[in-house]
């Protein structure tokens, strides 16, 4: 089964489940039971399932299915939970403070999840297309290596060519560039403007260099390209990891507020037993 067929099948299943649940809610609402209790429990069950994905990734010993399968279930259940939440709140913003905070948290989590999903679909192919894949945690080390190399090159050029042109250029245009990861947003939005600007600056510089200096300039250009690649990897990889800093912590906060909400609605809504 290729990805397209699988995706269509999963979407169809999700839509069917959603439609069935909406119908079930409508039937429940037609009774004299209070529909928010039913939608609430279904919603809580799905949210709990979604939260279990993080736990599943940490528990690798037990045969609970592959992480990729869980990821798929997490994604489609995530789409479903939006419908469930909207049904639960009656398709309108709640009036209470607690409920409003829960809604806002939920919205942030959902948006971050959608953003994460999009990032995980868009960014990895771009990373692959760019060239060498590097381990994220080692990027600063590689940047440091390139920085050292660039500084050695500049020093060498100053000694050999007895000219400070390249070194001045480095100090003015490239020292900040090599000091750490740069141009996050440009790389996220697939913009190469900063790189082109630097290349343009080097091109402009090379007009005034002799052949010897040009050799050093070419080597420096190569280092700039490499550094830009690292910046690209860093920005995209950071994005692929950073969205979880929003998505996961807020989930726990939401779950705590949901427990309080559960206690309050049952304590003042007639009791569970």
């Amino acid at each position: 089964m290729n990805i397209t067929v699988r995706r269509r099948l999963n979407v169809a299943i999700t839509v069917m489940v959603g439609a069935t649940l909406v119908l079930a809610f409508a039937v429940y609402d037609a009774s004299l039971y209070q529909e928010p209790f039913f939608t609430g429990w279904v919603l809580l069950a799905v949210m709990g399932f979604l939260a279990l994905f993080n736990l599943r990734k940490k528990i690798t010993v037990l045969p609970l299915g592959s992480a990729s399968t869980w990821a798929q279930l997490h994604i489609y259940a995530g789409w479903l939970v939006i419908l469930l939440f909207a049904e639960h709140i009656g398709w309108r913003l709640p009036d209470g403070v607690l409920e409003f905070i829960i809604t806002v948290l939920f919205a942030i989590i959902v948006v971050s999840g959608i953003v994460g999903l999009m990032l995980s679909r868009i960014l990895p192919p771009r990373l692959t297309r760019r060239g060498e894949e590097v381990i994220f945690e080692r990027i600063p080390a590689f940047i440091a290596e390139l920085r050292n190399e660039a500084e050695d090159l500049v020093l060498e050029s100053a000694q050999e060519t007895r000219s400070s042109t390249i070194s001045d250029f480095y100090l003015r245009h490239l020292s900040g560039f090599f000091s750490g990861p740069r141009n996050h947003l440009h790389h996220l939005f697939a913009s190469r403007r900063p790189e082109f600007r630097l290349m343009n600056d080097i091109d402009n510089l090379q007009r005034y260099l002799n052949s010897r200096e040009n050799e050093y300039a070419d080597r420096l250009r190569h280092l700039v390209n490499k550094k830009d690649d690292l910046d690209f990897y860093y920005a995209l990889s950071l994005a692929l990891k950073a969205w979880l800093l929003v998505h996961v912590p807020l989930t726990y906060s939401l779950l705590i507020l949901v427990v309080l909400h559960l206690v309050v609605v049952y304590a003042f809504g007639g009791g569970m037993s």
């Binding site: 009774s31 209070q34 993080n54 209470g96 409920e99 080390a141 590689f142 912590p249 559960l262 037993s273």
Partner: protein, 783 residues
Amino acid sequence: MKRLLQKFDFRSSSYSRPNQTWICGRQSEGSPCRIGPGADGSCRANFECQPAKRDDRWHCTRSDLAGGQCRHGPFPDGICCKPVARCRPVMNWRARPGAAAWRVAALTFGLLLVLVAGGGGPAFINPGPLTSQHVGLKDCKSCHTAFDKGPTAWVHAAFAEKTDIADSKRCLTCHDLGGDSFRPHGLSPSRVAELTRDANPPSRGSWAMISASAAMALKPLKGIESPLPCLSCHREHHGTKFDLTAMANANCQFCHTFQFPSLENAHPEFDRFPFKRRTRIRFDHLNHISKHFRDKEMRSSAPKACKSCHLPDEDGFKMSLKSFEDNCGACHGGQVEGVGRATAKGLPVFNVPGLDVATLSERDVAIGEWPEDADEEITPFMEFLLSGDRDYMAIRKALSGLDLLDLADASPEQLAAVESFAWRVKELIFDVAVEGMPALMTRLEKILGKPLSTQELTHLSGLLPVDTMRMAAHQWVPDLYREVANYRQGSGEKGPSSAGNDSGDKGGDKDGGLLTDEKGGDGLLTDEKGGDGLLTDEKGGDGLLTDEKGGDGLLTDEKGGDGLLTDEKEGKSAKSGEPATAPEDFRDEPENLATGEDWSMAGGWYRDEFTLRYRPTGHADRFLRAWLDVTGQAAPLSREVTTRQIFESLASDKSPGLCAKCHSIDADTDGRLSVNWQGARLAPGEHPFTVFSHTSHFSLPDDKGCLTCHTFNKGAKYLDSFKDRNPATFASNFEQIPRQLCAGCHTAAEAGESCLTCHNYHIGKIIPALSSTLEMMSVPGAP
């Protein structure tokens, strides 16, 4: 050749452990230490190697990956010569979301503890503003029983208690819905079962899928017998403008046996709307419109349109009737007052029943005086008043079947019963004549088994005047007072003799009269031994009744004129004790002297020979109404016969007042009878199942007006409905209103088709609870 930064050979790339939370802080410089941080995030770096001692020398043990053995080697004391600078370990990116999650969770939990347990807790957990009707409830515990026990108790209340009914009872503090507040429609289970049994099935149409599914799947779980708390239907905390009473049609139909999509689609036909019983006022519309209103004599008085007789009530819902005077009085007022009536216009209330005086005299039955000419049966009213005496019913039973006017063949037991009967009658008349209303009240209260208010006594007594009663008593049995007094003392009494008839000449008792005692004993009013009597003074002083000096006295006239009680020209006087003459014996009576009946054309009491009659005062006579109500509702088993007699006599078509000609009578399940004095109307606070606002619809009919909806049922035998006293058997003058007539406008897109547009859920009398002013008595200035 493209340069690759990431090397994977073991010499160039150290093993990466992403499961470890902390990584060396010098990773970013490209020179992380080999040891790495501890699990607690502390830097464990010290030296680049752990020197090993071999052959008394310390050797460097730095691995090839780290660069191999160093040039200088360890110090002689075995310490590595290459110390590693300590770093600040950095959390692994894999662990950062988890760490952030814990921190955020702890922060959230801490904030919640502060908020919920603090003063801002109620505002924080409040799910939203209340509706405008409840906005005055500032305290959560006004409605939520669990609130004032504190946050820890909320957990218990949430999971280990059931507070829905307890909370709903707080709603009843202001909303009094009767005893079965938590039952469907506020009705008892038996009533609900009855309505369910009688429910109409849906008419043809489509199936209400959602409602029917809900009922099929969930109703068995809910159990219709289980109580329904208020919050089943009323959801608060949705804002000030939220409609608390709004409900989806599907919710209404959940409990019902049948479900249907809409009024237009499969709603049961209106086969019992709007008429569920016969009319309370018997009025044949068709008969009147087709016959009576067209009569030449009646035409000018007849109504011209429906609104001539009907007008909307205060709420605009029902069409009430105007007053009798406005609607019916022009044609029927005279009938009620007895105009043109052939039989007596007054109701017989008190009388002296006829007895076979001759036989009683022969057989020496000691009943004292008894008018020979009395020939009527005892009135039902007197029977009722006598029925309080337990012995009387036995007497009555002994006399059943016996013709009291012919006692020739009566047995001694029957004659004894007649004697007792006669004395009971006399005692009754005596008591009422002497004591008046107190005596009447005592008897009535004993029979009815309840105390009477002054107003009730007023109505039941018809304000019988004292003189009317005493005059009648005197005329019927002139020596009544002495006889009854003696009878009660146990003194013997003679056999019957003719008591004073109308003329008063036939057989007065010479041994004693009302006012004197010729034998010397004290009479009621005189003292022959010389003492002052009540009314005379032998020493010459003026007395109430005589004037020896010759002036006119109240009762005598020595100059020969007629006195009130005596006629000196005929030689009869009160002093002699002979019976007084009746008003009819007054001299020089005009020939056109009105009879008592005619004199009382405006209603009231009058005497008709041996009967005191009451003539109704016109429509809505209070005396007739009071007796119909009391006797219809009272059904004491031992006196059932007497109460029914009165009721049936007053309710007959020939009874004065003709109440039952128009006011129908309903019998309830335990046999009590109610007279419908008014047409259908809603009691204050009454909520019926179905409501219809007439005024809202007045703009709709065309020239047909009311007949748009209320079409005549020409074949209906309306008057046959009233042959029994079951209000459910009826044939209306009007056809039932067809459902499609309403469904033409009441669609979802037009006038609306919510169940609540026409139906109430809460049925019965619902009166808002009044505020209790507990502090009223502590008003400043009060003692």
